[in-house]
Structures are given as C-alpha cells and as structure tokens.
C-alpha cells in the first residue's frame, strides 16, 4: 500500500506546477538568505582584519623605532611623551584589539550579532568599558531584522509545509474519492499518515539538499562541520515534522479545505508571532530588569569619590601592593597618571561591582525565565538551535563582554608592575605581549536538549492526531 501511495503521490506532485514553484521559491530564498549572511560575515571579518593589521603595523613601526634607539642609530626624543619606549604611549596609541571572530556557520543566523561590536579596544584609563559596548547601526535595520536562513526556516518553511498538506483529506472529500479510499483495506488514519509522510520525506530531502548545497556554495567546510550541520538539519526536520503533524491533526478534523487553511494560518500566527511577542512583552513589562541607567549613577558616585580621595587611595594601594612601590626614589615616575588610575580602578570597581553584579544577576534571572518560556513554541526552540549553531545568541555576547573584561585585566596586570617600576619598552617586548584569542568554549550549547523538546512537540501532535482520529465518527466524515 505504501509503495502504491508513494507512486501515486510522486505522480500527482510531479504534475503539480505549484509544487515546483514552491520548491523553486525555497531554493531561491535559501540562496539569497545565505548570500546575505555571508556578506554580513565578510563585512565583520573585514573590520576585524583591518583593526588587527593596523595594530600589527603600528607595533612593527614602534619596534623599529625602539630598535633604532637601542642600537644607538637614533637618540631618544627629548620630550618624554614622544618616546616610542613609553609604555603609556604604547598602550594608548597601540591599543589591544579584542575581536570576536565569526564562526564558520555564523552566516545562517544574524541572531544578536547586529547589536554588538565585534572589535573592541578598551581604554586603560577608565573603567566604563565594563558597563557595555554598542555597535554603530541604523536602529531601523535592527527593528526590521535581516533576511537570513533562520528567517526562511522559522517563518517561511512552515507555510510551505502547510501549503503542501492543508487539503490532503479535504480535497479527497471534495472531489468525491474519499468513499473509494475508505473502502480500501487501509484505515483512513494510515492512508493520510502515509500521504503526509511521503510529502514530509520529499520536502526533507529537498530542504536538506538545498541547505547543504547553499552552505557548500558559500564555502562552508561541510565535513569539518558535520556535527553542527547534522544537528541543525535534525532540528529543522523535527520542526517540519511538527508542522506536518499539525496539518495532520487539522486534516483529521474533516473540515473543508478553506477552513483548514484558515485554522493552520491561525496556528502559524500563534506559534511564530503571538507566543514569542507575548513572552517578550510580559517579561519586560511585568518583570523589568532595573535599567542600566542606574548603574551609571553608581559608577559616577564611585568615580567622584575616587577622584576626590586620590592621594589617600594611592597610599592605601601601595600599602596593599608593596611589590609595586617605587624602589628608585631619585627619579619621578613617568607614569604617575596611570599609577593613580590603576589605584583608583580598584576602588571604583569595588564600589560598582556589587551594583553591576546585582544587575547581571537580575538580568540572568530574567533571561533564564524567558529561556524557560521557549518551550512554549517550536519556533523559539528552532531559533535557539540556529543562533547557537551560528554563535550569535545573547549568551555568546554576554560571554564576549566578560572575555573583554578578563583580557583587559590581563593586559593591565602585564603593564602595571612595569609602569610602577618606571620601565621603558624594549624592541623584543612585543612578542611577549599577552594576545587575545576568541573562544566559544564557555558558552554552553544545549542543541541536543532543544532537539529533544522539539521531538516532544512532534510526539504531542502525533498523540493528538490519534485522539482526534478516535473521537471522529468517520462514517459521517466520509459520506
């Protein structure tokens, strides 16, 4: 029976011009979306490369100048601030470039990547970088969002599924062949399931092939990324299975094609537009995180306090860090400003950190709450799989912010003892500088769990279909 059905389906679908149109549309949209994603990634990579190259060339020039002084080819400049060996001047004019490199699958989902900068050069003489960073963008673009593969798969693909499945039973009924089918030695449930299963399999092959070809076309190493890509496709197929399942249930209700179409569109709206919007709005309105604006206030408070008590702070700081105290008192330290900055940073951060931590905790709690809500819609689950695979979730950017803070600390720790010891830079120092390398290690990926939840959705609609089938009086439906 299955083979007969398969043969019949292939023949009818093959004759249907709509099916080809729909497939061509998906093909076109996927390729366009991937092209867009790749452009965004290229732009990001270009910006990073430019900054890194700039830093490298500045370092090379400085190293050459220092070497000339070391080899007595040139005399050190009279003004100390012009001296290329000055650590402060180096840290100011050759700032460290902290860059978040795109992942090889970043092109599939913009996620939160359009909100944040991917290259940051924190200033050493103030602490405000700890409060956050923004990218320069047109907010209208952020509001509308970009046309990426995630959009095609989350929003548009379900409609494709629904278009292929909304009237399987109803059209059979409307064309009068349903009684003929009902007289065959197969249950209507089994017949419909087979028909939809065949369509699901066909669409799965088309969708997977399109995405694989598209990714390959954009230069993604599919062998290297086999794990992530198969996880992504697995989640996508489950998402499609869910929508086919929904269509299955709605078909089984035995209503006319028009009603089916409206019901399914309403469900699409509910899962893809309403549930996410309701979750966001209720959490932000009913459980708002205190605004970052409050932290500014605390930061200013601590900053003023530190400025007013600079001398005292410096004394205490040196008492706490005897290793940094000046040994050679005959010479004034050329880094007086930075010494005071380092000393006050501790005081400012000690005052701001509790507020910042409270804020981050409240935020984490709220985000965890929102995260739990993702189980309310498969669209949200799939979005998360996409963003995780792309490395563009909010968690990735929170982690990047922490990596910036950590690396800046490392850089300061490197400079601090040298500045307190009134040292100058040597031409060989550059190779020993701490270097930043972006890593996604600390961001947990729960795509497996998300796939499990997607399977639960598929099982629920499966169970629902069975209940609906059992509850219907099929004699009435067929005739």
């Amino acid at each position: 029976m299955f083979l007969n059905n398969l043969q019949h389906e292939l023949a009818t679908l093959g004759r249907d011009r709509w099916v080809f149109l729909v497939i061509a549309l998906f093909f076109g949209l996927t390729f366009y979306a991937l092209h867009n994603g790749a452009e965004m990634v290229a732009e990001r990579q270009q910006a990073i490369d430019k900054e890194v190259q700039r830093m490298d060339s500045l370092e090379t020039v400085r190293a050459e100048k220092i070497l000339a002084i070391e080899e007595n080819r040139e005399a050190p400049p009279e003004d100390s601030w012009r001296d290329p060996r000055d650590l402060w001047d180096m840290s100011y004019n050759t700032p460290r470039v902290i860059a978040m490199q795109p992942q090889s699958l970043t092109l599939i989902a913009t996620g939160q990547s359009d909100l944040f900068p991917h290259v940051v050069k924190p200033k050493l003489y103030e602490e405000s970088y700890r409060l956050g960073f923004s990218e320069l963008t047109n907010p209208v673009q952020l509001l509308f969002g970009t046309f990426d593969l995630a959009f095609v798969c989350i929003y548009l693909l379900p409609l494709l599924v629904l278009a292929l499945s909304y009237n399987v039973l109803s059209s059979a009924k409307e064309s009068g062949i349903l009684p003929v089918i009902a007289s065959q030695p197969v249950s209507l449930y089994g017949w419909l399931l087979q028909k939809l299963l065949i369509r699901f399999l066909l669409l799965s092959i088309i969708v997977s092939a399109t995405i694989l070809i598209g990714l390959g076309w954009q230069g993604v190493d599919l062998v290297d990324k086999l794990g992530s890509v198969s996880m992504l496709l697995g989640a996508l197929l489950l998402y499609m299975a869910f929508w086919f399942g929904i269509a299955f249930v709605v078909n089984l209700l035995g209503k006319p094609s028009g009603t089916n179409a409206i019901t399914l569109v309403a469900l699409w709206l509910a899962f893809v537009l309403f549930i996410p919007a309701i979750i966001t709005q209720t959490t932000t309105s009913l459980n708002p995180v205190p605004s970052r604006v409050n932290i500014i206030h605390e930061y200013r408070e601590a900053y003023t306090e530190a400025l007013n008590n600079m001398d005292k702070i410096m004394d205490t700081y040196l008492r706490d860090h005897p290793e940094l105290a000046v040994r050679d008192t005959s010479q004034a330290n050329r880094y007086g400003f930075m010494q005071r900055t380092f000393a006050s940073a501790g005081v400012i951060n000690a005052a701001v950190d509790p507020v910042l931590n409270d804020y981050n905790e409240a935020l984490e709690k709220q985000q965890a709450q929102v995260d739990q809500m993702t189980i309310l819609s498969p669209a949200l689950l799939l979005q998360k799989v996409f963003n995780q695979t792309a490395g563009t979730t909010a968690a990735h950017y929170t982690d990047f912010r922490q990596q910036i803070i950590d690396f800046t600390e490392t850089w300061k720790e490197y400079l601090k003892p040298r500045m307190f010891a009134n040292e100058l830079l040597a031409s060989t120092d550059f190779t020993a500088f701490p270097r930043y390398e972006y890593s996604t290690e600390r961001v947990s990926d729960n795509s497996g769990g998300l796939m499990l939840l997607l399977s639960v959705f598929v099982l629920i609609v499966g169970g629902l279909s069975f209940l609906v089938y059992r509850s219907r009086n099929w004699e009435l439906v067929v005739n």
């Binding site: 923004s134 209208v140 278009a163 409206i262 569109v265 309403f274 309105s285 979730t393």
Partner: protein, 473 residues
C-alpha cells in the same frame, strides 16, 4: 446610495454572525487592550527611571565639589532620552537605540545602553505592543474577513442573482468595502479611546497632544483602507476562495515581513554604516591632525600662541588678559566640535541614503510608509533619536564652553590652583529636551504620505476596474 448602505449593513451583519469573526475579534480586542495596558505599565516605569536618572545626573554635576572648571568639563554629565507619551502606541526603534549620552570635554559620545542588548534572541520576534497588532494583525484580520467577499457570491451563485437584480457591481464593491471598514473601525475605535484616556491622565499631560494621537490613527486607517482594497481586489479577481486566501496571505507575508527585511539587507549592502571602531579611528585621525588643548607644546598650539600674543600685543602668555590654558582648551574644543560635526554629518548622510532605499521600497509595500509615519508621529523613529543626540551635543558644547570660559576669564595663565564651585556649575542650566512638534515632523514625511496615498488610490482604482470586468460565471 441606498444600495450601498443596504449591502454594507448586510455585509456587517453576515460577518458579525460568523464564528470566525467572533473568535478573531475577541482575540484581537483582548490583545489590543492587553498590549496597551502592558505598554502603559512599561512606559510609566521607564519614565520614572528616566526622571530619577536625569535628576541624579544633575545632582552629581552640581555636587562634584570644587575643582578646576576644565576638570569639571572632563567629569561631565549625562543626557537621558525621554520617552514620548505616544511610544505607548508605537515603541518604534526605542529598544534598539541607546538611552543615555555621556557629555564630556573633547568627545562626542554615542548613546549607550539599548534595551535590546539586554534581551535574548527571542525578543527579535517582536513585542506585543499596539503597533504590532495594528501593523501586522489587523491587516490579517481584514484578509480573513474579506478574502471571500466576492468568491463566496460567485461560488454560491448569488453573484448571478445580484446581476439579475441590476445591482451595479461598483455599488456592491463599495457596500462590501464599507461593511469591512465599519467592522475594522469598530475594533480600533476602543483602542483610540483607551489610548486617549490613558495619555490624558498622565502627569506630563502637557506633552500629550490629541492631534498627534488622531493623526496616528488616521495613518492606520489609511493603511487598513489599502488592505481592504487589496482584499476586495484579490477576491474579485480570484475564481475560488482558496486561491484568494492563499494569494492574500502571500501578499501580507511579502508586504509585512519579507520586504522590510529584504530592504534592510539591501540598504545595508548599498550604504553600509562604518563600524564603531572605524568611525572612532577616523575621528581620532582628524583630531591628531588638529589642535590638541592638552598638548600646548604641539606645533598647532605654538602657532596659535604666536598669533594670540601678536593680537594682544604682549610678549608672554602671563601678560594675556585671560588664562591661556582656558583659551587653548576652548579653541581645541571648537576644532573638535567641527570634526565631530563633519563625521556625524557623514553618518547622517549614510542614514539618509538608507532611508531613501526604504522609501523606494515603500512602493512595493504599504507596510513601510505606515511603519515610518507611525514611528515619526510617535517620536520613536530614528529621526527623533538624531534630534535628541544633536540637542545633547549642542548642550555639551555649551557646557564645556562655559567651563573653559570660566577658567579663561577668572584665572591667570599658569594659575593651576583656581577652582570653580557650585555657583559655576549651576551657571549652566540643566539639560532639557523637547521633541520636535507634529507640524515640524509632518513635512519631512511628505513622501511617505504620498506613497501611502498612491497605494490607496491605485488599489481603489484596481477594485473599480475589476468590478467592471467582473463576470458572473
């Protein structure tokens, strides 16, 4: 005319009796009211935070203690972007733009802390705010109610009957149009009333402008009219209800979801914004080539020194009738302000080019002009954000200028012990920002009105033409 009203009333009655309308209208009404109340709640809490923050910033500025006025300019203060009452209806770009700008000597800073940065990817699906319902959901409702207006008559054979009774089809179309419009109006009017009630009860009633609220609803009504036209047009052209429904759904998808995203990607590729770091780098390069107030030893400073000494006919800086450092700082501030002005003008240029791309795309989607008009009237568009940022920059220049001026006038060159006090800090009034008035905004959006008007006329004409060619079989 009699025909038309009879048809409109019959249409209304029929739809009102339908289960799908009852369900849909109940859901949409609940969502509209819930979203308005939720946004009102949010508006109030943000407003409170804003007032507190603004107040704190001023107190910090006044209470910074005695110090050199230029140090006070470095210490700086913050400008906070107020929320405009109509953001209750359309929050626009609010969550994608920063809310506070740090105002300090030598630097123009970008607005910081956008709300979206503290949300997860889920928030990118959109928020349940009234604009979401008005822009996305009500058009869908119109489609749902009207997709079979004509196909149903055709399928049930009543079109033939109507023809035999010599009902002109244009009257039929007009009647159906009116029927749909009255139903939509019935859904939206309560929201208008609720918004009016909430807004007029706000403590800052002064900022609330009934005219703006009415214009906002006027724009949405135009938008709904376009969708009613489109729905009737497709229903007239389609042979079957199913085909009409699927086609209209496709039109909705393309107009409301695909084209805005597509245009965004296009605008970004055609006219990309520089990255933050490149932008800062360009400004830094210009500044290094210019006058640095903190580097009196630099060539440019030396040149200015010679010129000033000559102008005042004195031989040393100490003999000048003012503090040279204050003067130098202010001159460099002026030069910096010009550099910022130049670079922000370049940025604005890109923004304008991107806006032009959106305006062109508006010919393909009535969603776009409506979205832009709605945000503009609600003062939650990008233009309003620029307006705020420019006002903050103007204030920064005044603030820093006053500080440098005080240093220059009230101390002598080389006197580093001079300190300003609260009286000096209070000499600069607190930052206050009033968004542009409705009449100032409207002319800027003439093209959006034109495009929306074009959509209205073109679709209306389409409906009339289609009724002429309507055949009963």
């Amino acid at each position: 005319m009699g025909h038309i009203i009879t048809i409109a009333l019959k249409e209304c009655k029929e739809i009102l009796r339908e289960r799908r309308f009852q369900w849909a209208s109940v859901i949409v009404s609940i969502l509209l009211i819930a979203s308005t109340l939720l946004s009102f709640q949010y508006y109030k809490s943000v407003k409170q935070q804003y007032e507190l923050a603004q107040d704190n910033a001023r107190q910090k500025w006044l209470g910074q203690g005695e110090r050199n006025p230029h140090s006070a300019a470095h210490f700086g203060t913050y400008a906070f972007k107020p929320r405009y009452p109509l953001s209750l209806i359309d929050s626009g770009i609010d969550k994608y733009a920063g809310v506070s700008i740090f105002l300090e000597a030598h630097s123009r800073n970008e607005a910081q802390y956008m709300a979206a940065q503290d949300q997860t990817g889920l928030s990118r699906f959109g928020d349940l705010t009234p604009d979401f319902i008005l822009l996305f959901i009500i058009p869908l409702l119109i489609i749902l109610l009207g997709f079979n207006s004509f196909t149903r008559e055709r399928e049930s054979g009543t079109l033939r009957l109507l023809k035999s009774q010599q009902v002109p089809f244009y009257a039929l179309a007009l009647g159906k149009w009116l029927g749909l419009f009255l139903l939509v109006l019935g859904l939206v009017l309560p929201l208008y009333g609720l918004a009016w009630l909430l807004l007029s009860n706000l403590s800052d009633y002064g900022q609330f402008n009934g005219g703006a609220l009415t214009s906002l609803f006027g724009v949405y009504l135009l938008y709904f009219m376009v969708f009613i036209n489109l729905t009737l047009l497709v229903s007239l052209l389609a042979k079957k209800s199913n085909v009409a429904f699927v086609s209209l759904l496709g039109i909705w998808m393309i107009a409301c979801l695909v084209i805005p995203k597509f245009t965004t990607s296009l605008a970004n590729q055609l006219h990309p914004y520089p990255t933050q770091s490149a932008f800062v780098e360009n400004i830094k390069a210009d500044k290094q080539a210019g006058l640095d107030g903190h580097a009196p030893w630099s060539e440019k400073a030396k040149q200015l020194e010679a010129e000033t000494l000559e102008k005042y006919n004195v031989s040393s800086l100490e003999d000048l009738p003012f503090n040279w450092s204050g003067f130098l700082m202010q001159e460099s501030e002026k030069a910096d302000a010009e550099i910022y002005f130049k670079h922000y003008a370049l940025l604005k240029n890109i923004y304008q080019e991107q806006t032009d791309v959106y305006q062109t795309a508006a010919a393909l989607s009535p969603f776009l002009p409506t979205r832009f008009l709605s945000m503009a009237i609600s003062r939650t568009d990008y233009h309003s954000h620029w307006n705020f940022a420019d006002a903050a920059e103007k204030y920064r220049i005044e603030l820093v200028g006053a500080m440098n001026g005080d240093l220059m006038e009230n101390s002598r060159t080389g006197d580093w012990s001079y300190k300003g006090d609260e009286e000096v800090w209070a000499s600069v009034p607190a930052f206050s920002y009033e968004p542009p008035t409705l009449s100032a905004i409207m002319p800027l959006h003439a093209s959006n009105f034109l495009v929306l008007g074009f959509w209205l006329l073109a679709t209306a004409l389409g409906v009339l033409l289609a009724t002429r060619q309507l055949t009963v079989v």
